[in-house]
C-alpha cells in the first residue's frame, strides 16, 4: 500500500495532523539536524517547496536551475530517504526553481538517480505546469486573462515569443495527484501553499486553518526569532494549529508568526489562492510556550471564478558586461556628460539598427545606481564610482563589440578641465568585458480564468526504483 493510501485509510484515527515543512528552497541546503529532529516527531507527511519567482526571469527563460547539482542531489537524498523509509508521503512543489518542463525533467532525472543510488523504490506522481500556447491564445481571445499589476495586457505575440510559460497550480491539481495514491508527488510551478495544504484537505481538515498553516510553514523557520531555514513542524488540531521550529534555537512567537504575514506579500491581510481568498485579519496568535504558537481564526472565502497565475519569460538578447571604476573627482563630477559623450561615440561606430539592434545600459554605483526610484536631495559626490555597463544585443558578438567600444571611449573621453589623460577609469581585471549569456525578461505575469484545471495540469505516474 502506498504512503498516501495508508494515510487515507487511517483518516478516522487522525485527530491531529503533523506536517513537516522540510524546505522552502530545496536545493540550497536543508539543515540536516533540524530535518532529522522533525522526522523523530513522526510527521504524517513532508512538504518541500523548490521554487520562486524572486531570482528573476533568467531561470524560467533559460530552463535552468538556480541551485547546484551537488546541493540539489544532497537535499533530494535527505528528503527522499526521510519520507520513503518512514513510509510517509513527500510532496515537492515548483521543481527546479521555475517549474517549467526542463526544470521538472531535470529534477526528475536527479531524483531517479538518488533513488537508484539509495535503493529506494516508490510510486511517483508528476504534475507538469506548462501552459499550452493554443489554450492560452484561446483564453486571450475569450477575454479570460488579465494583468496582475503594471504590465501590458496579454496578447498572442507575447505568448509566441515566450521561452516558457507556466501556471501556478493550486490544491486541485495536488488533490488529483493524491487520487492516484502515490508515495511521492513532484510538480511544476505550484502555489507554495498547495504543497502543504493538499493532504490536510484530503483528510478533511478545515480549509481556513489548513491554508493559513501552509502559508506560514512554506518558508520553514523564517516565521521564527531568530528566523532561519530549519524544518518547521505544524500540528493541525482542526480550526487551530501549533507551530514549532525543529531547531531549538528558534522560537515561533505570536509576534514573529503574525509578522510573517508581511513577508513578500502585497497585502498582509489576504492570501489569494486559485480556489479562494484567506483573510487573516481576524487571526489569533497565542503563545503555547516560549517556542510554540497556536494560530486560529483566519477566514476562507471560496472564489466564484477560479484563476491561475501565469508566469512567462522571453529572451531579450545576449549580454556583455563592462566593469570599471574611477576615483578622479573631475571624472566623478562630470560623469553624466562623459556618459552622454561616450554613448554618442559608440553610436557613431556601431549604430544600433533594426537589423542589429542593441541597448547600452549604464549603472553608475556611487551615483544612485541601486535605487529604482528617483533620488531626492542627492548628497555630495562619492569618493569613488563604479561603472557597470550592460550591452544587450541579438548576438554575443555585437554585445561584446558595444561593450568593448564603450570601454575604450570611456577610458579616453575628453572633457573640460580633464587632468586624467592617461585614462578616466580603472579596470579591476582583464578582460574587463565579460559575457553574461542570454538576458531574459518576465513578459507574462497575468491571471488566467479557468473552470477546470485538469487540462492545464495533467497527472502522470511512474514507479521509481
Amino acid at each position: 500500500m502506498s504512503a498516501v493510501a495508508r494515510l487515507r485509510d487511517s483518516k478516522a484515527s487522525i485527530n491531529e495532523l503533523r506536517a513537516l515543512a522540510g524546505s522552502g528552497q530545496l536545493g540550497y541546503g536543508i539543515p540536516e539536524t533540524a530535518f532529522k529532529a522533525g522526522l523523530q516527531r513522526k510527521p504524517h507527511f513532508i512538504g518541500c517547496d523548490m521554487g520562486s519567482v524572486d531570482p528573476g526571469p533568467y531561470y524560467l527563460g533559460a530552463g535552468e536551475l538556480a541551485t547546484s547539482d551537488t546541493v540539489t542531489i544532497r537535499d533530494l537524498r535527505l528528503v527522499l530517504n526521510g519520507a520513503v523509509r518512514s513510509g510517509i508521503p513527500l510532496l515537492i512543489g515548483t521543481a527546479g526553481t521555475a517549474g517549467a518542463k526542463p526544470h521538472l525533467d531535470y529534477t526528475l532525472e536527479l531524483m531517479r538517480r538518488v533513488a537508484r543510488e539509495e535503493g529506494l523504490s516508490f510510486k511517483l506522481a508528476v504534475v507538469p505546469a506548462d501552459v499550452p500556447r493554443d489554450l492560452l491564445k484561446a483564453a486571450i481571445r475569450a477575454g479570460r486573462t488579465r494583468p496582475l499589476g503594471p504590465i501590458e495586457e496579454l496578447n498572442e505575440d507575447t505568448v509566441d515569443r515566450a521561452s516558457h510559460i507556466v501556471g501556478q497550480m493550486g490544491v486541485d491539481a495536488f488533490l488529483r495527484a493524491l487520487d492516484t495514491n502515490p508515495d511521492v508527488i513532484i510538480t511544476g510551478r505550484a502555489c507554495d501553499t498547495s504543497v502543504f495544504a493538499a493532504i490536510p484537505l484530503m483528510l478533511g481538515f478545515p480549509i481556513a486553518s489548513v491554508i493559513h498553516m501552509s502559508k506560514i510553514i512554506e518558508c520553514t523557520s523564517i516565521c521564527c526569532v531568530p528566523g532561519g531555514r530549519d524544518a518547521m513542524l505544524a500540528t493541525l488540531e482542526g480550526d487551530s494549529f501549533v507551530l514549532e521550529s525543529m531547531n531549538p534555537q528558534r522560537a515561533a512567537t505570536p509576534l514573529s508568526v503574525a509578522a510573517h504575514s508581511l513577508y513578500e506579500q502585497s497585502d498582509p491581510m489576504l492570501v489569494i489562492e486559485p480556489e479562494g481568498v484567506l483573510s487573516v485579519e481576524s487571526a489569533r496568535f497565542e503563545a503555547v510556550d516560549e517556542r510554540r504558537t497556536r494560530v486560529s481564526g483566519a477566514v476562507w472565502q471560496d472564489t466564484t471564478q477560479k484563476t491561475i497565475k501565469l508566469e512567462g519569460a522571453e529572451r531579450c538578447g545576449e549580454r556583455a558586461v563592462l566593469c570599471a571604476g574611477s576615483c578622479d573627482p573631475r571624472v566623478i563630477a562630470n560623469v553624466d556628460a562623459i556618459i552622454d559623450g561616450v554613448r554618442a561615440n559608440v553610436a557613431d561606430i556601431i549604430p544600433s539598427t533594426p537589423a542589429a539592434p542593441y541597448e547600452l545600459i549604464f549603472h553608475v554605483y556611487g551615483r544612485g545606481a541601486v535605487s529604482l526610484f528617483p533620488r531626492k536631495g542627492s548628497s555630495a559626490d562619492a569618493e569613488e564610482i563604479f561603472f557597470l555597463v550592460e550591452a544587450i544585443a541579438q548576438t554575443t558578438d555585437v554585445a561584446k563589440a558595444a561593450a568593448g567600444v564603450t570601454k575604450q571611449f570611456l577610458l579616453h573621453h575628453g572633457f573640460p578641465g580633464r587632468l586624467s589623460t592617461g585614462g578616466n577609469i580603472a579596470f579591476p581585471f582583464t578582460p574587463p568585458e565579460l559575457s553574461g549569456g542570454s538576458a531574459y525578461r518576465f513578459s507574462i505575469y497575468h491571471l488566467l480564468e479557468i473552470d477546470d484545471d485538469s487540462a492545464l495540469f495533467p497527472v502522470h505516474t511512474e514507479i521509481v526504483k
Binding site: 524572486d54 528573476g56 508581511l262 531579450c316
Partner: protein
C-alpha cells in the same frame, strides 16, 4: 523623532516581479501607533518621498504585528535589463531619513 529610532525592522522586497513592498516593524504598540498617525507615512507623503504617483502607492497598517506595509509599483519589472535591484531588497533607503 526619527523613524529609524522607533523601528525594529525597515526592509524592502519584491512582492512578485511587478511590485516592491516596504515593511516597517515596531517593537511595541506605542511606536506603531505613533507611526500610523504620522504625516510622513501617508500615501501622499510616501509618493512624494519616492517620486511616484500616489495612485501607485498603498499603505497598510497591520496591528497584529505592530507593522506597516507600503506597496509600490516597480518602475521596471524585476530582472528586465536596466533593473538595478532584482529582489527589490534595497529600496528602503529613503525611509531611513524621515521623521515621524
Amino acid at each position: 523623532m526619527r523613524l529609524v529610532d522607533v523601528t525594529r525592522v525597515i526592509r524592502s522586497k519584491n512582492a512578485g516581479p511587478l511590485q516592491v513592498t516596504l515593511d516597517l516593524m515596531f517593537p511595541d504598540r506605542a511606536g506603531f501607533d505613533r507611526a500610523v498617525k504620522a504625516n510622513s507615512l501617508t500615501r501622499d507623503a510616501i509618493a512624494d518621498l519616492y517620486g511616484v504617483a500616489a495612485e501607485t502607492v498603498t499603505v497598510i497598517p497591520y496591528a497584529a504585528a505592530f507593522a506597516i506595509k507600503i506597496v509600490l509599483d516597480r518602475p521596471i519589472i524585476a530582472g528586465t535589463p536596466g533593473d538595478s535591484d532584482v529582489y527589490g531588497a534595497q529600496q528602503h533607503r529613503p525611509l531611513l531619513e524621515i521623521e515621524i
